[in-house]
Structures are given as structure tokens and as C-alpha cells.
């Protein structure tokens, strides 16, 4: 297991380097003069010069790269708009995004697991077809439409829940449903498929032969074994939830990192864009790493196959 962890950590290093390089080159991909884009055409020449110096844009590319990693490491990358370290701003917002992503995950699990079990249990019946049709619908509903529709019904028409912002649990309900629905759809299909694969195994035939009811066979024996791939997908999708929260946060004015990213794009605050992209990508990579390690922990076949 130790070798597997070391190997997996080493494999993460080039990914982190690749992500950081990509983020570094963002500013250089801006067509034209990035300083003019950030400050606008009417900016005074002295301001332009100051910004060019601040971001070392007057230096050769390799020197800029060294400065970039140095400032990143010391946390000195500064937001143009907020005039404070970009990483500090990102840290403040990351917790709100994490809270939302966890709530979305909870919604997905609560909907998907029973739906998947039901579909596998009643395979090829109208119940199965309806559950899977519903899940295909869930994958196809854009969350930037689901969110406003939920606001329309539950906030504006029924007045049950707040429209936007961050406060108590009530503020979390609609964003969590918006974020979690697509994952619920995917997870229910995964649960069904995973259960169907396990249901044909000999140990379940043996359980049935011992006189256990089908309900006990599924809930007590099959489900536990079907859970491993489901948990893996859950972990991998949690990373996707973190990046997918960008849209949900924009709809519900949730003060998370996604909203900060979009706001910094509008204000052309590219150092903050860099910091946000880096933070989201790093969280994504780390969550995937933890999921992989967890998978290897619960299923020894993974570390043996990877090791060989």
C-alpha cells in the first residue's frame, strides 16, 4: 500500500506542474497587450508601466515563470481589483464552495441510491424504465435552468425558500438541489449497473438458497458489494461538483470561489482568475487523489494491478 501511495503521489506531481504552467500562460494567451486589457485603453501610461513591472511582463518569459512560482509559493500574487493577496481571497471563498459541494453530494446520494436499488430490484419493469428515464432527464436538465425554475416555484411563487445569498440551511436547499441533480442522475445509473453485476454472483444464489428474502439479499449482501464502484464515482464526481459549482454559485449569488472566478473575469482581474483556476484545479486533483487512495484501500486488486 505504501508503494502505491508513493507512486500515486509522484504521478500527481506532473499534473500539478502542468496545471500551474497552464495557469501561468493564461495571461500570455490574451490577444494583444495584457496590461491594456486589464486596465482598459484609457489607463495612464504610468499605471500601465507600474502594472507591467508588478507582473514582470517586461522580463523574459523564463524569468516571469520563476517570479510566478515564487509569488505563488510566498502567497504574494496580488488581486488588481481587491488590492489584497489573491490566495487569501481564494481561501475565504473556498470554504463556502466546499459547503455547497458537500450539500450537493448529500442531495445526490439521498436521491440516487434508493432509485438505483429500486431500478435494479425491479429490472426491466416500468419502474426500472421510469427510474432510468428520470435519470437520463436529470443528466439532460441544465443546472442553469433548473436553478432559476426552482427559484421561480419555491421562492417567488410559494415563498418557501430564499432566492439567493448565504445564510442558514434554508439558503442551502435550492443551490444544493441544483448542484446535486445531475450527479444524482449519474449515480442512480451507476448504482443500478453495479447492483445488476453483483446480483448474478454465486454468493447471492447461496444467500437465496438459505431462504433469505430478495429484499434482504439486495440490501444486506448485494448492496455492500456494489458500493465500491459507486463510492469511487462519488469521489471522482465530488471534484467535478467543485468546478460545477461555478454556475450554481452564479445563479444563487453564493459567495464561493466559482462566483469569485466569474466576477474576476468580468473585472479583468487576471491574477485573481489565475488564483481561482489554480485553487479549483488543485482541489479537483486532490479529491481525485484521495478517491484513488481510498479505492486502493478498500479494493486490494487495484494496488496490485497498478503496482505490477
Amino acid at each position: 500500500m505504501r508503494n502505491y501511495i508513493i507512486k500515486r503521489l509522484l504521478l500527481t506531481l506532473p499534473v500539478l506542474l502542468g496545471v500551474s504552467l497552464l495557469v501561468f500562460f493564461f495571461i500570455h494567451m490574451i490577444p494583444g497587450d495584457p496590461v491594456e486589457v486589464m486596465l482598459g485603453e484609457s489607463a495612464a501610461p504610468t499605471d500601465r508601466e507600474a502594472l507591467r513591472k508588478q507582473y514582470h511582463l517586461d522580463e523574459p518569459l523564463q524569468v516571469q515563470l520563476v517570479y510566478f512560482f515564487k509569488e505563488l509559493g510566498t502567497g504574494k500574487l496580488e488581486s488588481i481589483f481587491y488590492h489584497q493577496p489573491a490566495l487569501q481571497k481564494v481561501r475565504e471563498r473556498l470554504m463556502a464552495t466546499l459547503e455547497l459541494a458537500l450539500a450537493g453530494l448529500a442531495v445526490a446520494v439521498v436521491i440516487a441510491i434508493p432509485l438505483g436499488i429500486l431500478a435494479a430490484w425491479r429490472r426491466d419493469t416500468w419502474l426500472d424504465h421510469s427510474a432510468m428515464g428520470f435519470s437520463l432527464l436529470g443528466i439532460s436538465i441544465p443546472n442553469f435552468w433548473l436553478g432559476p425554475m426552482l427559484i421561480l416555484v419555491f421562492s417567488l411563487k410559494l415563498g418557501l425558500l430564499p432566492v439567493s445569498g448565504k445564510g442558514g440551511i434554508s439558503h442551502l436547499v435550492l443551490p444544493a438541489i441544483t448542484l446535486g441533480t445531475a450527479l444524482a442522475a449519474l449515480l442512480s445509473r451507476m448504482t443500478r449497473a453495479s447492483l445488476l453485476e453483483v446480483l448474478g454472483e454465486d454468493f447471492l444464489t447461496a444467500a437465496r438458497a438459505r431462504g433469505l428474502s430478495e429484499r434482504m439479499v439486495i440490501l444486506k449482501h448485494a448492496f455492500k458489494n456494489a458500493l465500491i464502484p459507486v463510492i469511487t464515482v462519488l469521489g471522482l464526481q465530488f471534484g467535478a461538483l467543485l468546478s460545477g459549482a461555478i454556475i450554481t454559485e452564479t445563479i444563487f449569488a453564493w459567495p464561493g470561489i466559482g462566483r469569485l472566478l466569474i466576477d474576476s473575469i468580468y473585472t479583468r482581474d487576471f491574477p485573481l482568475v489565475q488564483a481561482c483556476v489554480l485553487a479549483i484545479a488543485l482541489s479537483y486533483v486532490l479529491v481525485n487523489l484521495v478517491t484513488d487512495l481510498f479505492y486502493a484501500l478498500v479494493d486490494p486488486r487495484v494496488r496490485y494491478e497498478e503496482g505490477s
Binding site: 502542468g18 443500478r192 468546478s243 473575469i265
Partner: protein, 270 residues
């Protein structure tokens, strides 16, 4: 059930493409024609889906919006599939160092969340249809390359390929004439799902204000509509429905095709 999926999906796909192609003949009004006095008017005869804040006919804008979705969906899939098939075929056929290098690049890119890269790239390059397609294609090819590599690795060991090699056929000919033809089924399925994903991604970017300016697009219409959610909810409902039905159609088509082309996977795969 399988036929229903394919029939429903194919009908939606053909309809959306037909609407996009024949938009000037179908749209009842000029999509950019403003009539400020009639801004936010409810659906009625003459303007079946109502008018937006500038008094533009929403039905006509929806019809023209299909063009953006179709162009982005098809172009992104075409570019992504072309690159992905090329890379996957090279990695799978030649194996060894080439496979290792290409697949490590794929691993690194896979670690990057797709929508985030698309948002960041569109923000940096500037919002335009070309840049959206570029941003979506940059990560879009990865799935195809992994799929084709896997298929080619299996196929290249089969007797008909070994026979072609023994007869002295060149690598390019074997890949093009034998391997790719025999791996086309899963690629077609993936491409169908890919169109749905690209349409959704474009609509997401447009919703966030990063879409192509000056062209009616469903995501941008939905974005504008959310500002009038209470007074004119129809401005949000119809563009969202258009996106959902289109994406659902392509997803159904992909699902039906997968079951048709890979019957063995019918039960076990999601």
C-alpha cells in the same frame, strides 16, 4: 424501449438540425428586430413565445439560437473526434514509448476540470464562436483517444490484422482500412453523447456571459430571462426547455445506439 430511444433521439436531432439550417424560412420575425413598446409582452398570436425586454420575438430568437448549438455541437465533436482518433490509434497501434508519452499527456489533461478550462480560455481569448469551439475541443479529444486506444489494442491482436501485417500492409493502411472501421461503433456512440455535452457546455458559457456576442443563443437568452423571472418567466422557461429537449434527444440517441451497437453492454454498463 431501445427503438423508442433511438426514434425519439433521432427525431429530436434531425428536427434541431433542420431548424438550424432552415432558420430564415422558419422564424416568423427577424430575430434582431426590436420593438421597445412591446418589451416583455406575454405569448400571444403573432409572437407565440412572447417578446424579450427589447421587444424581440422570442420564437425567432430560439429558432436562430439552434444554429449556435448545432454549429458548436457538431464542430466540437468533429475536431475532438478527429484529434482523439488520431492520437488513440497511434498510441494503441504502436504502443511502447509513443503510447506512454501520449497517455501521460492524456492523464494530465484529464486531471483538469473541463468546464473550468473552457471558462478560463474563453475569458482569456475573448468570447466568440470560434474560441468557444476551440476551448471545448482542447479537452474534448481526450475521451476519444482513450476509447480508440483501448479498442485498437484489442483489435490489433486479432487474426485479420495479423494477416494484413503478414501480407506486408503498411501501418497507415492497417489503421485506416481495418482498425478504425472496426472501432467505429463506440466512437459513434461517444460522438452522439459528445454533441449533447458540447451543446450544454456552450449554453453554460453563454449563460455566464462568455458566449459569442451579437448572435442569439439559448444560454444567453436564458441568462437575460433570469433577470425577469418574476415578471416574465416565459423568457427563462422556453430557452431552457429547448436546451433540455435537445440534450435529452442526443442523450437518448447515444444511449439507444450504445445498446444497439454493443448489446453485451446492455445490462452492465450505465
Amino acid at each position: 424501449m431501445r427503438n423508442f430511444r433511438i426514434i425519439f433521439g433521432a427525431t429530436v436531432a434531425v428536427l434541431v438540425i433542420a431548424v438550424a439550417v432552415f432558420a430564415p424560412y422558419i422564424a416568423p420575425h427577424d430575430p434582431d428586430e426590436q420593438n421597445l413598446c412591446e418589451g416583455l409582452s406575454l405569448p400571444r398570436s403573432g409572437h407565440l413565445l412572447g417578446q424579450d425586454k427589447l421587444g424581440r420575438d422570442q420564437l425567432s430568437r430560439l429558432v436562430y439560437g439552434a444554429r449556435v448549438s448545432v454549429i458548436v455541437g457538431l464542430s466540437t465533436v468533429f475536431i475532438s473526434a478527429t484529434i482523439g482518433i488520431f492520437v488513440g490509434a497511434l498510441a494503441g497501434f504502436f504502443r511502447g514509448v509513443m503510447d506512454q508519452v501520449l497517455m501521460r499527456i492524456v492523464d494530465i489533461l484529464m486531471a483538469f476540470p473541463g468546464i473550468l478550462l473552457a471558462i478560463a480560455l474563453t475569458a482569456v481569448l475573448g468570447p466568440s464562436l470560434r474560441n468557444i469551439i476551440l476551448a471545448l475541443s482542447i479537452l474534448g479529444w481526450i475521451g476519444y483517444s482513450r476509447l480508440v486506444r483501448g479498442q485498437v489494442l484489442v483489435e490489433r491482436e486479432k487474426e485479420y490484422v495479423q494477416a494484413a501485417m503478414a501480407l506486408g500492409a503498411k501501418s497507415g493502411r492497417i489503421i485506416w482500412r481495418h482498425l478504425l472501421i472496426n472501432t467505429s461503433g463506440p466512437v459513434i456512440v461517444q460522438a452522439t453523447f459528445g454533441i449533447a455535452l458540447a451543446i450544454l457546455a456552450e449554453a453554460s458559457l453563454s449563460f455566464l456571459g462568455l458566449g459569442a456576442p451579437g448572435i442569439p443563443s439559448w444560454g444567453a437568452m436564458l441568462n437575460e430571462g433570469t433577470s425577469f423571472l418574476f415578471t416574465a418567466p416565459f423568457l427563462s422557461i422556453f430557452p431552457g426547455l429547448a436546451i433540455m429537449v435537445t440534450v435529452l434527444g442526443f442523450n437518448f440517441l447515444g444511449d439507444g445506439l450504445r445498446r444497439l451497437l454493443s448489446p453485451k453492454e446492455d445490462v452492465s454498463r450505465i
